[in-house]
């Protein structure tokens, strides 16, 4: 009996000792959020993560902007690949609501918004929607107010940048300004575009108020690439322009021109050179870094011609974002921007802007410019409208590229001015994802030019060369043009968002 007793003792001893240690296990190879975001070093690391999050949406953004505009087309009408089909749908204004590219863009943008919200929540910088202001609420962790303002200034710019893209592509989207649980999310519906813009303006003003205001020539080398007050002012100017609040835009743009020391590069080519990154013309760029760090740019391979072997890039190209014939012919052949932006492989014309020598595929160095000083100049021209000063601003851009200056005698009407400004922006910012937003904005800032007309003209010109070649039964030009409606200037909300919410009804954009 004693024998048994001994066994039992040992048995239960082992059971109790090994007990809780064995099942109270926490991750060893990953950080986790319950214990992170607790001091400024960790919050800075999380903020860096938000910068990285800018890269993912760009992967699709060109197809929502350049491809849908008159700048580019799908390279290969007869390919049966699924990517091609989905991209052609965007190109031809007929995306379905299940479109995978649209969904991915949406998901990746909101993913980064979530990360930004996590950072802002960790330092208790909260958006008060009723008043449209950001509040610096009381904070339990030991982070100084200076650090909070510095971090928040960068984070709110990133959030505003994302929402500005979303509101222009989808209209009134879901306004998420704090980390939201999946359960809470089921009760949130779309907001009006006004509410979205209210947050964007509050966020950008926060950056302007608390961000790094050093002039370009005084920015600490380590801070190059980070958000500062100048890029926030430029983005806010664009927001105001989009809202047709031109006078507010003018104040901001003049401030940048007069006080920031940002300036045009001597040549167009130098703006994009990988040995001249974050130059005086780049107010903000999404940065890529080669060297198999997982931070390289995929665009060299995406935009290089399909089937070019290694003639253009290592690893061949995917043939996306082919320049449209009409864009090419609007460049003077002597315009250095032409050669910088578009090259030809045998008979295939392709976007050269983001191609640099690279050792391995999908790992190019080229940054993606978001706001350039040239944009500041041309936005000012757009805000001021037709006058001599505006023509001069356009001429600064033209002269850099060795073109003849415009004069008030050649540009003698609002219509000609608007055409000239539109064309200049198109040539200058080709393949920088500006054209689509420009066209839509012109609907409010211009009086003689509409996005719908530009797109219908584009289809008319390109139909015999391109759209008419789609396999039988090809769409007729009339059918194609009929897809260009005011409603289709917005993309559909991903069908999945509407389908999975069984609590509330989420309205789809009209026309889908």
């Amino acid at each position: 009996m004693k024998y048994i007793f001994n066994f039992l003792t040992i048995f239960f001893f082992f059971s109790i000792v090994s007990c809780n240690k064995n099942i109270n296990i926490y991750p060893v190879s990953n950080l986790y959020d319950a214990t992170f975001y607790k001091n400024i070093d960790e919050i800075d690391v999380a903020l860096t993560g938000c910068y990285n999050g800018l890269q993912k949406p760009l992967y699709e953004e060109w197809s929502m902007t350049e491809l849908r505009s008159d700048n580019s087309i799908m390279g290969n009408p007869t390919s049966g690949s699924s990517d091609n089909k989905e991209l052609s749908d965007l190109d031809m204004f007929m995306p379905n609501t299940y479109h995978e590219g649209i969904y991915n863009y949406w998901l990746h943008t909101y993913y980064n918004i979530y990360n930004v919200n996590k950072v802002l929540k960790s330092i208790e910088v909260n958006y008060k929607q009723s008043e449209g202001v950001l509040l610096y609420d009381s904070l339990l962790i030991p982070v100084s107010i200076e650090d909070r303002k510095r971090v928040a200034a960068e984070a709110t710019f990133i959030r505003a940048y994302h929402y500005f893209n979303l509101v222009r592509l989808f209209g009134g989207v879901f306004l998420i300004h704090t980390p939201t649980s999946p359960t809470e999310a089921k009760l949130i519906n779309r907001e009006s575009t006004d509410e979205i813009y209210k947050l964007i303006i509050a966020d950008l003003n926060n950056t302007i108020n608390y961000g790094n205001s050093a002039k370009f020539n005084a920015i600490n080398n380590n801070d190059l690439g980070r958000v500062n007050t100048w890029c926030a002012k430029a983005l806010l100017a664009k927001v105001y322009l989009t809202l047709n609040r031109k006078s507010e835009a003018i104040i901001l743009l003049n401030d940048i021109i007069n006080n920031s020391t940002y300036s045009l590069q001597p040549t167009y080519k130098e703006v994009f050179s990988i040995t001249n990154e974050m130059n005086s013309e780049i107010l903000f760029a999404v940065r890529y870094k080669a060297g198999s760090l997982g931070l390289g740019s995929p665009f060299a391979n995406m935009f290089a011609p399909n089937g070019s072997g290694l003639a253009v890039v290592n690893g061949d190209g995917q043939g996306y974002n082919y320049p449209s014939y009409e864009l090419e012919t609007s460049y003077l052949t002597t315009d250095p921007r032409f050669a910088n932006n578009i090259l030809v492989y045998i008979t295939k014309h392709y976007v050269n802007k983001y191609i640099s020598d690279m050792a391995i595929a999908d790992d190019a160095e080229n940054d993606w410019p978001v706001i350039r000083y040239a944009d500041v100049l041309l936005m000012l021209a757009e805000a001021q409208g037709y006058n001599a000063s505006s023509i001069n601003l356009i001429n600064q851009i033209r002269i850099r590229s060795g073109l003849t200056a415009l004069t008030t005698s050649t540009i003698n009407s609002v219509a000609l001015f608007e055409k000239a400004l539109s064309d200049e922006r198109r040539l200058e910012f080709a393949f920088e994802n500006q054209r689509w937003f420009d066209l839509v904005r012109f609907n409010t800032t211009f009086t003689t030019l509409t996005a719908e007309q530009v797109m219908k003209d584009h289809f008319t010109i390109m139909y015999p060369k391109h759209y008419g070649k789609y396999p039988a039964p090809a769409l007729t030009l009339e059918q194609l043009k009929s897809f260009v409606t005011a409603e289709h200037l917005l993309l559909p909300i991903p069908q999945r968002e509407i389908d999975i919410n069984t609590k509330i009804v989420i309205p789809q954009n009209p026309g889908y």
């Binding site: 991750p27 060893v28 690391v45 990285n52 949406w106 080398n221 940065r287």
Partner: protein, 1065 residues
């Protein structure tokens, strides 16, 4: 240490030593019914620890002590006999066949039980000829053999796991596969590594009451694998070898480009005769690139296209070699085996090889202490192809695999390809940007103004990719265990089991320079992982019989710990394709370099009581409580009780005298089991590296962290629980010549652990949740009969059929969940319906003409889709009758669950010849065939083009749409939902046992040669258009249990024929 030496000593002295002999008895053992000698009857004497067994002639000879008074003759399949020795020196025995062995023992969780006493739903499958099945894995061999166990060969690549489900779906998360326990140790990949020849028996715990003893892991059923042990006998050797080959049962019928273009031009000629439409423009017949492809095929390939499908396929080769030795003496039994298995798939570069060694030793250290050692190291090597079979099927036939004189000359037109010589791999880009012209099938001359790209693709041909890359995984596994049993007092045993399962693998995923596209550097992805699973299990077992009461009680404590380390490094740019080690890489790719360290722990307390009264009234109750590291604080512990009852009615007085009734037993059970298999740390939000470069120059890489892109945690998640009732009846008639088992079950799973679709604007597509409940009901029928027994001929049949159905009872506060697959096809999980329903559009044939469309529009029909009204394209049904075709017209258009699954095996013996064959089938359920929604396959596979719509006057069958890229395509419609039913002659085994006289002259005990075949006949449903109704996508989103039933470009069904020989000596 002392014990170790003792053990070693014992191992060395086992071989044939002689000891004191007092008496020798000989005799012959015959089958009483057939009069044939019986091989392998065990003969034991009392008071003596030695034993022997009979040879092929039924003869035996046993040495025993003079004090022995009786001999015990036992053999599986016969009633055991005990005969007094008295002063006989020759004892001949006639053994009586027994069709159910009343002494049969069934392995249950943490113990064994007599078959007669079992009160739960447990199926046992003995390894009779399991190891002769023409398959490489145990789970494949079980297909169609056991009611309620569904085995689905979703892939046919070498070494790939089939999908195994027990009693339908009781859990929604991907971890809904049964728990596999090998000799007491739960081993996640037990079915993958176990050597079939080492298996003694497979037991499947189907109902919750039987599985509840495995608590948190029992909800999806438990498969218990028991390996062979030695018996007290002289050394017995076994040698088994088989070799065979595999060929595809059916391939895709793909058009060559010549056939494709001929068809287009033929259709154009029909169209031009149709006065209701305008004659097609020349440019609308075929695109320039298609015409160029035709020219390439006609002029450079001599009109004969390349059959890419055949380039991917080969005759597969399977080899299996097994050797074993077993035996035992007083206090020591051993079983030692070694095996080599090679399985070469029909797909090129898909190979699987496995080496196994198993040693099992049973030692009686004293009368009170017993030890069992088991060690099973294995090595396997799996080579996987770097390209899918699908990529070959859809490759256009005008592309040659290698350049010939003509094609090389053709591509020399471009300076970039001037170095190409005949014999080089042909790539699509070589043929691009070249001016092509020539005669079209209608005799017209085609001369375009510019160059054409016959096949616009930047990637290399699948053949050159597959041959320039290799994915080889080496796995080293060792399962070992030591079990110590101490008899504490009469009836009370203490057992302590310690097991250790180590699984180390290293994989090199290698690609040569330029393997997939020009300019790609060579790349090696090295994946090293190691997993160590330690289990300690301590149980007390108490058995007591008091008069008519017999009691068996179990009390135990177990703890299990698993550490998994995984490291992946990607090296780039090697000096040569022949040197593939990391030290030669020029660069490390950060994007392909990861590491993880995961620990998982489980602590459990368990107990069980089995009680029987008068051997008629049976009761069993069990209890288990589990603590798991998968869940957060406060949610770690779960409790899983069960109770079951049995009544052996035929032992009652009022039935005892009915002599045709051999058995009548009723069983009922109720139990709770759980599921904890979610991803690690579902209760925490993990962060992942997310770096960025700041600063001047090209920037400095700066560390960043960001949240998961795939799933949001839920701190409150906890156990999923399944409550199950089981009702069973067992009937045996006519001396057990007919045996029937029927089980009916009903289960409810609540707190479903699932990855719920989250609104994407929260930043992730999925989140963990514990919501809802699911009901399963089913019925299983097992019938085995002995049809004929004569002296020369015996015929037995065993058949099983099962039906199960599930319905979602609730989903928290949701009415349904929506999930999307690769083509945005939607799977809906709706309350009140089966777990998965395909959610899409109903169609009613195709629009026959523009006139029909115009008429419909005139009646007010409109659509929000740009492409809903195209002649020759699918006509969507306005389900909600509001005259608008839009997303509200989606409805349920099918479900993957079969009505029933069945299998029937017949076994015949005639003299020395034996034949067995298994038919297996699945009836009902549907699948989504992705091929008719996928451009290349839709365009080129004949079955999707036959009888298609051409023009209003040539409408085809009115249901098959014309190929059109911009039409209502890719939306899920019932046009691609097909019947998934099939039946097949799954296995056939024909053997011949050599006559005893021949065998003896060769100094052998027995010799059997056999032929074994798989899938000699396979019949799929009439409306199924693919080639393999069993094929399913299972990776990526298809890993979720909320998404299922999708296939695309499935691999052919293998038809396998093996020849084998089985020697015993």
């Amino acid at each position: 240490m002392k014990n170790m030496k003792f053990l070693l000593l014992l191992v060395f002295i086992i071989s044939g030593s002689a000891y004191a002999q007092k008496k020798v008895i000989t005799g012959t053992i015959l089958n009483k019914e057939t009069g044939k000698p019986i091989l392998g009857v065990n003969i034991m004497a009392d008071k003596s620890k030695s034993g022997t067994s009979s040879n092929a002639k039924g003869e035996y000879s046993i040495n025993l002590k003079s004090t022995s008074t009786l001999l015990i003759f036992s053999c599986i399949g016969y009633t055991t006999q005990t005969i007094l020795i008295e002063d006989k020196s020759v004892i001949d025995v006639n053994m009586i066949p027994s069709y159910t062995d009343n002494t049969e023992v069934v392995v249950i969780g943490y113990g064994t039980q007599k078959r007669a006493d079992v009160t739960g739903a447990i199926s046992k499958y003995k390894n009779d000829k399991l190891d002769e099945a023409p398959v490489s894995r145990l789970d494949q061999a079980l297909q169609g053999k056991i009611a309620g166990v569904q085995v689905n060969n979703t892939s046919s690549l070498a070494g790939d796991a089939p999908k195994v489900t027990v009693r339908g779906i009781s859990s929604i998360y991907a971890g809904a596969s049964p728990l596999v326990v090998v000799d007491g140790q739960p081993v996640a990949d037990g079915l993958a590594y176990i050597n079939m020849a080492d298996i003694e028996s497979v037991e499947i715990l189907k109902d919750a009451a039987s599985a509840a003893i495995y608590g948190s892991r029992g909800a999806s059923g438990v498969i218990l694998l028991t390996t062979k042990s030695g018996k007290i006998d002289k050394p017995r050797y076994k040698f088994k070898y088989s070799v065979g080959f595999k060929t595809p049962y059916k391939k895709y019928d793909v058009m060559t480009y010549t056939e494709y273009m001929n068809n287009l031009f033929y259709e154009a000629s029909l169209k031009s005769l149709d006065t209701s439409i305008a004659a097609p423009l020349e440019s609308a017949i075929a695109s320039n690139n298609e015409r160029a492809g035709y020219i390439v095929e006609q002029t450079l390939l001599g009109g004969k296209g390349t059959n890419w499908q055949n380039l991917a396929l080969q005759t597969g080769l399977a080899k299996n070699l097994q050797l074993s030795a077993s035996g035992g003496k007083s206090g020591l039994k051993y079983f030692i085996s070694g095996g080599y298995q090679k399985d070469q798939s029909m797909m090129i570069h898909s190979n699987y090889e496995k080496f196994n060694i198993r040693t099992k030793i049973d030692l009686d250290l004293s009368k009170k202490v017993k030890v069992v050692f088991n060690i099973n190291p294995s090595y396997s090597k799996k080579e996987s192809p770097s390209e899918n079979f699908t990529n070959f099927v859809r490759y256009p036939s005008f592309m040659p695999a290698y350049h010939n004189e003509l094609t090389a000359e053709n591509v020399h037109q471009l300076s970039q390809w001037e170095n190409i010589i005949p014999g080089d791999f042909a790539q699509p880009r070589h043929f691009s940007e070249i001016y092509y012209s020539g005669y079209m099938p209608d005799g017209s001359f085609w001369a375009p103004t510019g160059t054409s790209d016959p096949f616009n693709s930047s990637t290399n041909s699948p053949l050159s990719s597959i041959l320039n890359s290799s994915i080889i995984a080496n796995e080293y596994r060792a399962q070992s265990s030591a079990e110590l049993t101490i008899k504490l007092m009469k009836g009370l045993d203490f057992k302590s089991l310690a097991t250790n399962y180590v699984n180390m693998s290293n994989t090199l995923n290698w690609s040569n320079k330029n393997a997939f596209a020009d300019g790609l550097v060579s790349k090696g992805i090295y994946i090293n992982s190691s997993s160590v699973d330690l289990l300690s299990e301590n149980t007390f077992n108490y058995t007591k019989n008091i008069k008519d009461h017999s009691i068996n009680a179990l009390l135990g404590f177990t703890t299990q710990k698993t550490n998994t380390n995984k490291d992946q490094t990607t090296g780039l740019n090697y000096p040569s394709d022949d040197i593939r080690t990391l030290n030669n890489a020029t660069q490390i790719d950060k994007a392909g370099t990861f590491g993880s360290r995961i620990k998982v722990g489980l602590i459990s307390y368990l107990g069980r009581v089995n009680y029987s009264y008068l051997n008629k009234y049976l009761l069993s109750a069990s209890f288990r409580t589990d603590g798991s590291s998968y869940f957060g604080p406060g949610n770690k512990w779960g409790t899983f009780p069960s109770v079951s009852l049995g009544w052996i009615a035929n032992k009652e007085n009022f039935l005892k005298d009915i002599d045709w009734l051999s058995k009548l037993k009723f069983r009922t059970s109720y139990g709770v089991s759980g599921n904890n298999r979610i991803l690690d740390f579902g209760f925490l939000d993990l962060l992942y590296p997310s770096n960025y470069s700041f600063g001047d120059g090209t920037g400095t890489n700066t560390p960043g962290q960001a949240t998961s892109m795939t799933i949001r945690s839920n701190p409150d998640i906890t156990w999923e629980r399944t409550f199950q009732n089981n009702y069973g009846i067992e009937i045996a008639l006519f001396k057990s010549k007919i045996n029937l088992n029927v089980d009916f079950y009903k289960s409810k799973t609540d707190r479903l652990l699932l990855q719920q679709s989250a609104m994407a604007f929260t930043g992730v597509p999925l989140s963990w949740n514990n919501i809802g409940s699911l009901k399963n009901t089913g019925i299983e029928l097992d019938l085995s009969t002995v049809n004929i027994t004569t002296s020369n001929f015996k015929w037995t049949t065993s058949a099983n059929i099962s039906h199960s159905e599930n319905v979602i009872l609730e989903l928290g506060e949701e009415a349904y969940l929506i999930n999307q697959g690769e083509r945005n096809e939607i799977y809906k999980n709706q309350v009140g319906s089966p777990l998965i329903q395909y959610y899409g559009f109903k169609t009613n044939g195709v629009w026959l003409s523009q006139a029909e469309i115009d008429a419909a529009k005139a009646n007010g029909l409109s659509s929000t889709f740009n492409n809903a009204f195209v002649p020759g394209q699918l006509k969507i049904v306005d389900v909600d009758n509001n005259n608008i075709i839009d997303n509200n017209d989606r409805t349920n258009i099918g479900s993957p669950y079969p009505d029933f699954t069945w299998g029937i095996t017949n076994t015949c013996n005639y003299k020395s010849v034996d034949l067995s064959f298994t038919f297996q089938g699945v009836q009902g359920g549907s699948l989504i065939n992705g091929d008719p929604n996928y451009d290349e396959t839709k365009k080129l596979v004949k079955v999707y083009n036959t009888n298609r719509w051409i023009s209003p006057m040539n409408p085809g069958d009115g249901y098959t749409p014309n190929y059109n890229k911009s039409a209502f395509n890719w939306m899920l419609t019932d046009y691609v939902v097909e019947d998934a039913s099939y039946y097949s002659l799954r296995e056939l085994n024909l053997g011949y046992t050599l006559p005893a006289s021949t065998v003896e002259s060769l100094n052998l005990t027995s010799v059997r040669i056999y032929l074994s075949a798989q899938n000699l006949y396979f019949k799929s449903a009439k409306n199924y258009r693919g080639i393999n109704p069993e094929g399913r996508m299972t990776s990526g989103v298809y890993g979720s249990s909320l998404i299922g039933g999708y296939q695309r470009g499935s691999f052919p069904i293998p038809k396998t024929i093996l020849f084998g020989i089985d020697l015993n000596f």
